[in-house]
């Protein structure tokens, strides 16, 4: 008897499931098709292409691991990878410190906070192309604003983007400037999550502002700091637009980064297979950072 009652209910549930599947095909279908064609498919296709030689014209040739072997022997990969590391080291710590300081200063009930927020955020909404054009003018060795400021302060005149010793630093400065407001806002939202009771308690214990910063703000903000850190590293590893626009990797290879070399291989030398191998190198780095992030975050949660 009990079975007889349960059976129709089960079949009813199944028919409802089938019903939903029809709707799911209709509503998710177009999205899923695009997702498979332009996102998931290409991720797999890039891996496949990385084992081939392909120039868009001659038929595709399967060459096994040769692209990867070449990649590990390629001095240019080494140099562009090094440049990417240097860019990361130049931008991430400085950018994070500056934006954290600004966020802490802004986290008071200042009357014109909206104004500051808008101003600091302005570079983030501006296209990299516009930013690059303006900064190239600022960096102009003869008539640029920056060299003028340097001459007033008594610093030596620099060649900025057109010297191989300063090109990468110049690009890094633009990178810091552009993402400062964005990082500042991330910190600001983290700061607003810290309860004021911690500050009140530390004040009763006689802590000054600097001590409060070190012993209350920084530990409480640790998850945000870590999030910003990981995001900054991932995005600095993908730097390309600013390099392409301001120096095209030059002079020489002094400011060429990994994605720039990928771009050159794919769309200038038409070595699609080799470029795909480089793409997977980039992918591996980003993946490792993300996985470390997940592991580390879990550990952090256990500790705090």
């Amino acid at each position: 008897m009990a079975n007889a009652v349960a059976a129709p209910a089960k079949s009813k549930k199944r028919s409802k499931l089938q019903n939903d599947t029809g709707w799911a095909v209709l509503m998710l279908g177009p999205n899923l098709l695009g997702f498979l064609l332009f996102m998931l498919g290409p991720v797999v296709a890039t891996l496949f292409l990385s084992f081939t030689e392909y120039d868009l014209i001659a038929p595709l040739k399967f060459i096994g691991l040769q692209n990867y072997i070449e990649m590990f022997q390629d001095e240019i990969v080494g140099q562009t990878l090094l440049n990417t590391f240097i860019y990361t080291i130049l931008t991430v710590p400085v950018g994070m410190c500056l934006s954290l300081i600004l966020a802490v200063l802004l986290d008071q009930d200042l009357a014109i906070r909206r104004f500051y927020r808008a101003v600091y955020f302005l570079p983030s909404i501006t296209s990299m192309v516009a930013v690059a054009v303006v900064w190239q003018w600022i960096y102009n060795p003869e008539f640029g604003l920056l060299n003028y400021v340097f001459s007033v302060v008594g610093l030596p005149q620099m060649k900025w983007l057109s010297s191989s010793s300063t090109s990468l630093i110049s690009i890094a400065i633009v990178g810091i400037w552009k993402s400062l407001g964005y990082n500042m806002l991330l910190f600001l939202s983290g700061l607003q999550g810290i309860s004021t009771t911690y500050y009140e308690a530390s004040e009763l214990d006689g802590a000054n502002k600097l001590q409060q910063f070190w012993y209350v703000t920084v530990p409480m903000l640790r998850p945000t700091i870590f999030f910003v850190f990981v995001m900054s590293i991932i995005s600095s590893f993908q730097v390309f637009d600013s390099v392409m626009l301001m120096t095209k990797g030059g002079p020489g290879r002094s400011s060429s980064v990994l994605v720039h070399y990928l771009y050159q291989n794919a769309f200038q030398y038409f070595r699609m297979g080799y470029a795909c191998a480089i793409a997977y190198l980039l992918f591996a780095v980003v993946l490792i950072i993300t996985l470390c992030n997940m592991r580390f975050e879990k550990k952090m949660r256990d500790i705090y």
Binding site: D20, L33, Q108, L122, I125, S127, V259, A279
Partner: protein
Amino acid sequence: MTNIHAFGRTYTPKQMILRIISHVILLFGALTMLMPFIWMLSTSFKSLGEVFVFPPTMFGERIVWENYTKISSRFDYFRYFMNSIKVSVWVVAFQLFTSAMAGFAFSRLQFRFREQIFLLYLATMMVPIHVTIIPNFIQMTFYGVVNTLWSLMIPPMVSAFGTFLMRQFFLTVPRELDEAAKIDGCTPFGIFIRILLPMAGSTIATLAIFCFMNTWNDYFTPLIYISEQRQYTLPLGLAGMKGSYSTDWPVLMAATSLSILPVLVAFLLAQDAFVKGIMLSGMKD
């Protein structure tokens, strides 16, 4: 100790000093952030002769409006602008539509492999665009749409991130609402259109701004797909102009100022929505 009254509040002298220091640092920072923009505008109103002087001056002798009228003779601003509008409007419209529908499906419909498919969406969100661009380029060549705006309009019609965002929103809406509609005989699509979509206004606005900004400012994708000048979008056109007229800084700065204008106006009108929209990109990358 005497307290200081300012801005309708009372401060101790120590608080006041801290406040002043804060303001000085923040103001100095703000000036640094704004300087490139000010310099851009000031250069755009100078004559060519006034630009090539050292030390540079902040203002020229008179305002040279001609730099702005000269743009059109060197730079097909209107065409690039219209191309950018076309691509951005199309991408935003389709991305919102496909994301909202799929987000609904992932949050409300029962079907096989739902969680597994969604996990795939999540996994691709962190994949850099540089990893997928080569097969996509080959694919677009195969369809014969390279060098047309279609190559910029087709792939971003779907966004894993947008789908994720819409799903997350729909999950916050209590199910009792759609259960009631279901009893009244409403189909899942009806529930989506009549009940859930009207509630998603702010999420849709945020996603729309985020998507518009990314498309409007995008340099990388057009660089890959478009080489014919007539099909340039604004960023590509501006970059091309920098290449061919690299010494006429006033006109170049005028063109740059104009290219920033649409996003700037939108930003000033809807600052909060913008900030929210761009903060999302952190979750995406």
